[in-house]
């Protein structure tokens, strides 16, 4: 696959500066065209506590539901810089999935908008400064649900 990517890049380079400019503008318009991106939720991403972040996302007191949310995290993370997290849910009409780490300086790691036709499943990797709970927040039919699991971190991932 990386070959394909490289090839595409080479072609773009070969076709000269004009082409790269076009590609650049194409990229910008891609981000701006179509449906408007929801504005980056500064309040939620600056939150220092899980409940505060929930509040900033309009998710006050989400129902704890370990049966309908699957949260896959390692029990022990040797490297807190790269902790794989998968959240999936069997809830109907999932519109949003968010991943939080309750002891990180900013607790909200990522929030995903799930359009119709996209499965209620996402995998990413997060940083964890210390042993903490990874919290999954799922919005289904306008209602919020949560689920948490502890990850033991043996080496923190926030530098310093």
């Amino acid at each position: 696959m990386s070959n394909e990517v490289d090839l595409g890049r080479r072609k773009a380079l070969q076709s000269g500066g004009g082409m790269s400019l076009l590609a650049l503008f194409g990229g910008l318009s891609l981000l701006r065209s179509g449906d408007v991106l929801a504005e980056w939720n500064k309040a939620a991403f600056s939150s220092k506590a899980v409940d505060e972040a929930f509040g900033s996302m309009g998710a006050t007191n989400p129902e704890n539901n370990a049966a309908l949310i699957q949260l896959t995290v390692p029990e022990i993370a040797e490297n807190g810089a790269v902790v794989p997290v998968t959240v999936s849910s069997s809830l109907p009409n999932v519109e949003q999935i968010a991943i939080l780490v309750d002891k990180n300086p900013s607790v909200l790691a990522a929030s995903f908008t799930i359009p119709q036709g996209t499965e209620a499943m996402v995998t990413t990797r997060v940083k964890m400064g210390q042993t903490a709970n990874v919290v999954a927040l799922v919005k289904s039919n306008g209602k919020f649900y949560r689920m948490a699991k502890e990850v033991k971190v043996t080496a923190g991932g926030c530098g310093g």
Binding site: V5, A38, V83, F112, T113, E119, T124
Partner: protein, 104 residues
């Protein structure tokens, strides 16, 4: 300009699985250099994946997403030979767009 993403999209039984590896430092703004100076926050804030003009995933990131962010998701539809495009912007306003061809 930012480095290209690696995107792999494969379709199986009518569902396309997309794996994205972005190249980005994802600085938290809390890390210090050896001399004690603070490294300013620098991280991807928004990601958008599209298939035939339709948004198939939108993400907002904070500082806790790992360096060189990885994403995996699946959407209904897609056929071999068609394209999936992914764009990101970071907190400095830099952006990057790449696309991949769906493989069977």
């Amino acid at each position: 300009m930012a480095n290209p993403m690696k995107i792999r999209a494969t379709v199986k039984e009518g569902v396309t699985e997309v794996k994205i590896l972005m190249q980005h430092e994802m600085e938290t703004g809390l890390r210090k250099e050896a001399d004690g100076t603070l490294v300013p926050a620098w991280f991807i804030t928004e990601v958008k994946a599209q298939y035939q003009g339709r948004t198939v995933l939108e993400a907002q990131f904070g500082q806790s997403v790992s360096k060189n962010p990885y994403l995996l998701f699946r959407f209904k539809g897609g056929a071999a030979g068609e394209k999936v495009s992914v764009s990101w912007v970071d907190n400095k306003g830099e952006s990057r767009s790449d696309e991949a061809t769906i493989a069977a």
